[in-house]
């Protein structure tokens, strides 16, 4: 599907409506309304993991994945910006190997800003953020080496991860690091679950920055997202009912069921 007009109905009913609800919730949230968010255990563990690194006096590792510069990488940097504010406060050493030069460029800005916001710009070491390689396994070899040499105390992996996820997670496990991970690539989640202490799953990734910052704008967005998902869930149920009445050839209803399915069928 390259253009909205190829099949306007699902685009309007699902995509545009969701987008409108999200923007509406963001705007109304800015007017300040108490919002409830369920617990995401993996994210609560971030402070614990930083605390441990402080106790042990060993570095904190942050890996923003191996994807290019995109909203996924930006979300990772948002999370790391929060972590960096804590490390700036406690004076932990941080290590952030980066695989994409554009992400590297932005990462340096983001982390520097976090240190500045905490009032400790002098604690920021530009060399702690390093471009290693944009080649998947060259990057993996570099990170694996770094983890073992520096004996990191805690490891945060957020962003786009592919097969190399297990290399990072297992080498981290070998040195006894507390590890928190999350990625949008669901096929890598099992490996993070197996080797990390906390793994955030699926959409929790996009909820992370809102969850840890508790910023009203972002929490509003989260509520809007929930409405979007509710809409889709309702559509699943209605669609299943429609398909069933169509299969049973119920008079009139069956026809209605068929047209409902047709409304959403693309190509």
């Amino acid at each position: 599907m390259q253009h909205a007009f190829e099949k306007l109905a699902p685009v309007l009913i699902v995509e545009v409506l969701t987008a409108i609800i999200i923007i509406w919730r963001i705007i109304s949230a800015q007017r300040g309304k108490e919002l409830f968010i369920r617990r995401i255990p993996g994210l609560n563990a971030i402070d614990e993991a930083i605390g441990r690194a402080t106790e042990m006096g060993r570095p904190v590792l942050m890996v923003p994945g191996i994807g290019g510069f995109s909203i996924i990488a930006l979300q990772a940097l948002s999370i790391f910006s929060y972590i960096a504010r804590s490390t700036a406060k406690f004076g932990n050493r941080i290590l952030m190997p980066v695989a994409d030069p554009t992400v590297y460029t932005v990462a340096e800005e983001v982390i520097r800003d976090a240190y500045q916001a905490e009032g400790h710009p002098e604690r920021f070491d530009p060399d702690s953020i390093r471009f290693l390689s944009d080649r998947q396994f060259a990057f993996a070899s570099g990170v694996a080496g770094l983890i073992q040499r520096e004996k990191i105390a805690s490891s945060f992996m957020f962003g786009e991860f592919f097969a190399e996820s297990l290399i990072f997670a297992e080498t981290g496990n070998m040195v006894g690091a507390i590890q928190v991970a999350g990625t949008v690539h669901t096929t890598q989640i099992p490996f993070f679950i197996a080797a990390c202490d906390y793994t955030i799953i699926g959409d929790e990734y996009y909820a992370a920055s809102a969850y840890i910052s508790r910023n009203p704008t972002m929490l509003g967005s989260l509520v809007g997202q929930d409405f979007g998902k509710l809409l889709i869930t309702v559509l699943f149920v209605v669609g299943t009912v429609a398909a069933t009445v169509a299969a049973l050839n119920v008079p009139t209803l069956g026809e209605a069921g068929k047209s409902f399915i047709d409304l959403f069928t693309i190509r």
Binding site: R38, I71, E109, P190
Partner: protein, 219 residues
């Protein structure tokens, strides 16, 4: 000794590859000086190759060729715009680098509409499965009907796990979300189980490379 030298010179790539392979593999024992050396060589080669790719696949075809061969001079503006990135290390004008960064962010964000429509919308109607399936002879296909019911239950419960803001005080939603999480564990276990095959094949290939391509002990 001569024979060995001759062999090395006749297939230097295989020898280099074998040494690199063994060097990196020592990581599974533990990080060591040998590994560290090859890790650095690896990153160096990869960086060099990225530079080559940048020149021959981006700068040459998207900048040099259009401007100087086809006369599309306006690409010069893009190049100048890209130079703003380099203000990032300037203390005073550092904000200028936010222009190309913001531009790329906008580019990435703007594609979300098409991305969403292309990736997810076609899957909507594909998930509308009848709970009553007729077999080819017109009777009820029990197995398929149950499968479709399971499909819908899984879909809905897993979706419910991802509701963050709806008060999960309702027992129904909490139970549904809990069940959804268990179902996801089934999916993750299955992904884990199927991936092992491909990874073992890769290791087998490495051993084949060492023992057959290099040492010629097999075949």
């Amino acid at each position: 000794m001569d024979a060995v030298w001759q062999d090395i010179l006749s297939r230097p790539g295989i020898y280099a590859g074998a040494i690199c392979t063994i060097g990196l593999m020592t990581l599974i024992y533990r990080e060591n000086a040998f590994y560290r050396f090859f890790e650095h060589v690896f990153i160096g080669l990869a960086a060099g190759f990225s530079i080559v790719v940048l020149i021959k696949e981006i700068l040459d075809p998207f900048l040099y060729q259009p401007v100087f061969k086809k006369g599309e001079w306006y690409w010069t503006f893009v190049f100048m715009f890209g130079l703003l990135f380099y203000f990032i290390h300037s203390r005073k004008y550092n904000w200028l680098s936010r222009l190309p960064i913001g531009f790329l962010m906008g580019f990435s964000a703007g594609q979300a509409f098409q991305g969403f429509a292309n990736t997810y919308l076609p899957q909507l109607a594909k998930s509308f499965r009848p709970l009553y399936v007729t077999a080819s002879d017109g009777s009820l296909d029990m197995a398929q009907s149950i499968n479709n019911l399971i499909f819908m239950i899984v879909l809905v419960t897993v979706m419910s796990y991802f509701f963050f803001s709806f008060e999960q005080k309702s027992k129904a939603i909490r139970n549904s979300a809990q069940f959804g999480r268990w179902v996801m564990m089934v999916a993750f276990g299955a992904i884990f189980g199927t991936t092992i095959m491909a990874r073992m094949a890769l290791l087998f290939d490495r051993m084949y490379f060492i023992f057959s391509d290099w040492l010629k002990l097999v075949q």
